[in-house]
């Protein structure tokens, strides 16, 4: 067995859907012990989101839930019930990190705010992930992923390019705008853990999903402040480059050529047509001025070639060109295969999933590893409540009847 980077770190996750669970998954996948708390009888809402095998909804078979909750232990608990609160406090006493995503004020109201919990565990790191953060005018506003994607400025600039400004701006595909806040949050949690290792001190971390998405667009977000000009989803209006997303024989490709030799490589790829020797192409300035027309001319060549062929031949010339891949292309790609990006996962209800996405980093000493699939609802109740907290099986039955677990 290889070493686990985060072995010994104890995390409590009281999260739902994507952001907080993804944040906790990142830590669990690298070896921390993560106990996920779900609502008794109901569980995480992700259990009711697709994809499901054969499109048949089943609370233990959601691809979204299975992906976001690998390597975690799962218990059911209602911390807002009287007995549940006592159990929650016992779990907090033993935790390094609590990740939660309830609305601002909700934990405080139940006597489970940071000020209450730090009395039980002064070294606790509590990370609260909410749509707008704990302070400010919108703190109590409701927002789903769609709203946050647009309120952060991310949606306003998609899709690029836009052919009709009267068509609405869009959010990024699927749940990615809800994964992003989980990723941004985990950086602060890890830094706080490092500080705790150095000083013993815990702290509270206020995380806003809106700000997490803005941080991913820190350049686009300040263009107005610095130049008086807002970017649009028509793409940059100055210094435009021919290329971008272009159709080809069996889909689309994308090319960017910020450097002269890259443009030359692109021209070599498409056989140095006559127009490439002309005035329209003579320098970056001229190409920028004729960007639309040149793109059309490049497409004339692309449309007769497949994305695979364009990619391999273009890259052999050091031209920054790539296929616009679908999930199918990626699952079957030889690069992903060579890097073992997909691993096999066996789950007691969902069965064997042959290609399950792993991680984007290869640690030389402490690799990513799938130790256990996502937990069944309440799978580890007995292990945690009886094995760890000393409740008897009779207690469990009683707590279940009371709705605490």
């Amino acid at each position: 067995m290889t070493e686990r980077a985060l072995a010994g770190i104890k995390v409590l996750e009281f999260g739902n859907l994507v952001s907080a669970p993804y944040c906790a998954k990142l830590i669990a996948d690298l070896g921390a012990e993560v106990i996920k708390i779900e609502e008794p009888g109901h569980g995480d809402d992700a259990r009711r989101r697709g994809p499901f095998p054969a499109n048949e909804p089943h609370q233990e078979k959601s691809g979204l839930f299975l992906y976001l909750n690998t390597n975690k232990f799962g218990i059911t608990l209602d911390p807002f019930s009287p007995e549940g609160k006592i159990i929650f406090e016992k779990l907090v006493k033993d935790a390094d990190v609590l990740i939660e995503d309830r609305s601002p004020g909700e934990m405080e109201k139940m006597g489970l705010g940071y000020d209450d919990l730090k009395k039980l565990n002064p070294g606790l790191i509590m990370a609260s992930i909410t749509p707008f953060g704990q302070t400010g005018a919108y703190r109590n506003y409701k927002a789903y992923q769609l709203n946050i994607a647009h309120l952060s400025g991310q949606g306003y600039l998609l899709p690029i390019p836009t052919f009709d400004l009267d068509r609405p701006p869009v959010k990024a595909g699927c749940h990615s705008s809800d994964y992003d806040p989980g990723l941004v949050s985990v950086v602060a949690i890890m830094a706080a853990l490092y500080w705790k290792g150095a000083s013993g001190q815990g702290q509270f971390i206020d995380l806003s999903k809106q700000e997490a998405l803005i941080s991913m667009q820190r350049i686009e977000s300040v263009t107005y402040a610095n130049s008086g000009e807002s970017m649009t989803r028509q793409g940059p209006q100055h210094s435009r480059m021919p290329g971008g997303i272009m159709p080809c024989k069996n889909g689309h490709v994308v090319v960017v050529t910020p450097e002269e030799h890259q443009w030359q490589a692109l021209m070599t790829l498409i056989g140095n047509p006559k127009w490439s020797q002309g005035d329209m192409c003579k320098d970056q300035q001229a190409r920028s001025e004729n960007a639309d027309e040149l793109t059309e001319l490049i497409i004339e060549w692309m449309i007769d070639h497949t994305k695979e062929e364009i990619f391999e031949k273009g890259q052999a010339l050091s031209c920054p060109i790539a296929p616009v891949n679908s999930a199918e292309d990626i699952v079957n790609s030889k690069q992903m295969e060579a890097r073992n990006f997909f691993v096999e996962m066996e789950h007691s209800e969902a069965g064997r999933i042959k290609k399950f996405p792993a991680s984007p980093y290869r640690f030389s000493k402490t690799p990513w590893r799938l130790d256990r699939p996502a937990p069944l609802l309440g799978e580890h109740n007995k292990d945690i409540y009886c094995g760890r907290l000393g409740y008897t099986e009779d207690d469990l039955t009683r707590l279940e009847q009371d709705g605490a677990i």
């Binding site: 400010g136 769609l146 952060s152 950086v187 500080w195 941080s215 649009t232 790539a322 616009v324 984007p360």
Partner: protein, 411 residues
């Protein structure tokens, strides 16, 4: 010590030092994040090989003729120190090794294979600094048939699958720009912190190979699983949701103004119709429950549009939020800058830059109560810290520095 420097000393990563050999966005922003958290970052550049983001940014379309006037570079390299070393010279490589020896972390994002050829690969540096944490960031990773393929944000986003599922089905896939690099960078910062925690416990360093392509692919895990489980290839859905409706952006008063509205429950639907002053919609069979609303969302969208067009987006937001309906504008750069909530949260701030002057930047995205992240200084002028670092940290004499500058080693 200045007040600003004093503040930075309070970050959770205080006392850690990073040496970076990075350019563009993905590498520099990874260390910039760690710098916000209090780590000291030394950026190794050279007049021979200047970080091109000092000159151009294809995301914004801006370009510059000198290396110290780019707001983009400033925003991605805050707090750092810059030294210039011409790594084509063996003497410069020796100095770079000395920097690695006094660092906790090294980060590079050159094309795979380049850094080992320069003599600054992990295998070499771990001999002189065994507990070093070393991260290489590249488009597709250090291994596999595509390892040496060149890429920028738009290409590795496309390879990772996000463009294919973003936009409208009857339009081409959406391009993605620099924000993709920043996702890769945030992932790199997390990986480095993981290795730091392991080192804190065991004293051991290690090497991390980060693939930007994979760092984007993992943000859509369920999309791959739909293909693996059901052979289903997901495509572009605009703003649509798997079961919520209405779930879209609607046109508002003014130019290119939009509001996003998302409705999950019957209760939210009824509240929306009240605010629209169209209570008859509740009785309308086409919209009687979630399934019907979803099935008839085209008609639903036009009805909502007729209403939103006549109103200001903030007015709609306030009215709908008051009754518990999730609504918020699609904000432009101007919209973000003028938004009252973001002002209260201090999301925008200025730094004084010696060439640019007052430059607006985005503050760190986390609020830590005990050890706040901070931005005490602007991005460095090219070579600004040659003296501080070479004299102060490596103990060189002024004479030595002059000599090495003349030889174009410090250059």
């Amino acid at each position: 010590m200045s007040k600003q420097a004093e503040k930075m000393k309070n970050g959770p990563l205080q006392g850690l030092r990073i040496t970076e050999f990075t350019s563009a966005w993905a590498g520099p922003y990874a260390t910039c994040l760690l710098g916000f958290l209090g780590a000291e970052v030394i950026k190794v550049e050279s007049k021979k090989r200047i970080d091109h983001s000092r000159f151009i940014a294809f995301t914004t379309g801006k370009s510059f003729s000198t290396p110290d006037e780019s707001s983009v570079f400033n925003n991605l390299n805050l707090n750092k120190q810059s030294v210039t070393l011409n790594l084509t010279k063996p003497k410069a490589v020796e100095i770079a090794k000395r920097l690695a020896t006094v660092s906790d972390i090294v980060v590079e994002n050159m094309r795979p294979g380049v850094v080992p050829r320069l003599g600054l690969g992990y295998e070499v540096l771990k001999e002189i600094k065994p507990d070093l944490i070393y991260l290489s960031s590249s488009a597709c990773g250090q291994t596999g048939p595509w390892r040496e393929y060149v890429g920028y944000a738009p290409t590795f986003a496309a390879m990772a699958g996000l463009p294919f599922i973003t936009g409208y089905d009857d339009w081409p896939p959406s391009n993605f720009m620099g924000s993709i690099d920043l996702r890769s960078a945030t992932t790199a910062a997390f990986a480095i912190l993981t290795a730091l925690l392991y080192r804190q416990k065991t004293g051991e360093g290690q090497y991390i190979d980060l693939s930007s392509q994979e760092s984007i692919a993992v943000l859509t895990g369920e999309v791959f699983l739909d293909y693996v489980m059901n052979n289903k290839v997901r495509t572009r859905q605009g703003n649509r949701h798997e079961f919520m409706a209405p779930h879209n952006c609607y046109k508002c008063k003014g130019e290119n103004n939009w509001i996003s509205i998302a409705v999950a429950t019957d209760q939210e639907w009824q509240a929306l119709t009240q605010v629209m002053e169209k209570p008859e919609l509740v009785e309308d069979a086409r919209f009687s429950d979630g399934q019907n609303r979803w099935n008839n969302q085209d008609e639903l969208d036009s009805i909502i549009n007729e209403w939103t067009e006549k109103h200001d987006y903030y007015e709609i937001m306030e009215k709908l939020q008051k009754v518990g309906v999730a609504a918020g504008p699609s904000l432009s750069g101007e919209g973000l800058f003028k938004d009252k909530h973001l002002k209260q949260r201090e999301v925008f701030m200025t730094v004084d830059h010696p060439v640019i002057g007052k430059d607006w930047i985005i503050t760190p995205p986390w609020k830590l109560s005990a050890t706040p992240a901070s931005i005490p200084r602007h991005a460095p002028i090219l070579g600004e810290h040659n003296e501080t670092i070479f004299k102060g940290l490596l103990g060189m004499s002024q004479e030595e520095i002059n000599q090495l500058s003349e030889e174009e080693v410090i250059f």
